[in-house]
Each structure stands twice: as C-alpha cells, then as structure tokens.
C-alpha cells in the first residue's frame, strides 16, 4: 500500500468526495440524496484514506472514542429533535405541527426539522460505516477505550 500514485490521487480526490457527500446530505431534501447516501459517501472517502495510507497508522485513523461519541450523539440528537416536538406541545417527531419554521421550499435551510434530522443521520451513518469497516478489516483486535 505504499504506491505513490495511489497516495497522491487519494489525496487529490478526498476533498471532492467529502464535498460531494456534504452536498448530498445538505441538499437531500430538495434533490435526490439524503443522510444515508451522503453519510456513506463521506465514509467511503475516509475508508479510501485508510486503505491508501495503511490501516495501522494510528495518527491517521478516526479515533475510536470520537467515532463512538459521534455515533451515539447522532442517535441522541435525532431523539432530542423528536422530543422537541413534544416540548412544543405536539407529538413526538412533529415538524409543522410543533411550529418549526418551514422556510422557503428549495433553500438549504427549509423544511423545519428535516435538515437537522438529515444531518444527524448523515453524521451517524458516516461514523458507523467507517467503524464497521475498520473493525472488520484490522488484523489484531486491540482494546478500545
């Protein structure tokens, strides 16, 4: 895995991949896409990085504890936004009924809670996919914190 061409091309590609993933997440409610696809694209860019620069390089990897915190926080944020609906006097996971501003259709920040939910899904999916890959691929199961 020390091929120079692979490394250079990877370095060139990763920013674009991540930008594309972000685009898919943020415009998921106005064009095809959404949290799952975007999160996975971001995760694939990180997996590409891991593959090109070696899986055992400690400095380059998303630290397990960071991944763990993002995962749980993604899910907790989803629940929290849902509970926001209850606090505002409507049902769990309410959007318009709870009075979230819907904005102008077509903008990035439109659709009330939908953008927030999509972003939390995207974060969660990205960190989950990278964790799954790293854990299945790495040779020796070492203890995480």
């Amino acid at each position: 895995m020390s091929d120079i061409i692979v490394r250079v091309v990877t370095r060139l590609m990763i920013p674009y991949l991540q930008l594309y993933g972000l685009y898919i997440i943020l415009y998921g409610h106005n064009s095809p896409g959404g949290g799952f696809a975007g999160g996975t694209v971001i995760a694939s860019s990180l997996i590409l990085y891991v593959l090109a620069f070696g899986i055992d390089d400690e400095d380059l990897r998303l630290s397990p504890s960071v991944a763990r915190i993002i995962e749980s926080c993604g899910a907790l944020a989803y629940v929290g936004i849902g509970l926001g609906g209850i606090l505002l006097g409507a049902n769990f996971l309410s959007n318009k009924a709870a009075g979230f501003p819907l904005g102008i259709p077509g903008r990035v920040f439109s659709g009330g809670t939908i953008v927030l939910l999509t972003v939390s899904i995207g974060l969660k999916v990205a960190s989950t996919m990278i964790t799954l890959f790293v854990n299945i691929a790495e040779k020796e199961g070492e203890e995480e914190s």
Binding site: S31, P32, P105, G106, N135, I136
Partner: protein
Amino acid sequence: MDNLFYAMVFIIFLTGFWIMLRQSNLIKKIIGMNIMESAIFLFLVAIGYVKEGSAPIAIDANPGLAYVNPLPSALILTGIVVSVSVTAFALGLTVRLYQHYGTMDVDEITRMRSEEL
C-alpha cells in the same frame, strides 16, 4: 406477460434464498442474503412504479406529470441500511469463527464440533 417484471424479481429472490440455504460457505451465504433482500426491495419499488412516471421531486414546479409512488422508495432506504447492518454483524461473526475453526464452511464446522464432543 405484463408482469414479467415481478416474475423475474421472484426468480432473483429464489436464487438468493437458495444461495443462502444451500451454500455452506458463510461469505456466500451473506452475499446470498444481500441478493435476496435487494430482490425484495426491487419488488417493493416496482410496486410503486407508474409507466412514464418521474421521480417525486419538485412536484410544484412541474405540474401535470405522472409521478411514481414515493412511499416504497422511502421504505427501501430504511431496508437497505438494515441489510448492511445485518451484513456487517454477520461478517464479524464469520471472521471470529474463522479464527476459532480455521474454516468458514458451516458443514465443516458442524463436523468438527461433533468430533470434539
């Protein structure tokens, strides 16, 4: 033969089912599982399809078009993620079983276990 589409989807489904039941190699079983599940998802999306329909996006901008049913697509998005989770967990188990037994073959593992007892 209007419903040849469904018939072929069922053939794929059965192929996946057969791979999953009959292949003794665990990786093959897992691939078969994915094939089976995506055949089901294809079936669901095909249910919601409308001839000459377009994707249910920006409907107010293009009135008068026929649109496909959006509900199956939304269900499938959930289903795909579920199937990748099952796949990941099953692969983890496969790797561990390989470390213990030195094989991924279910029949072989069963034989080795019955010899041990």
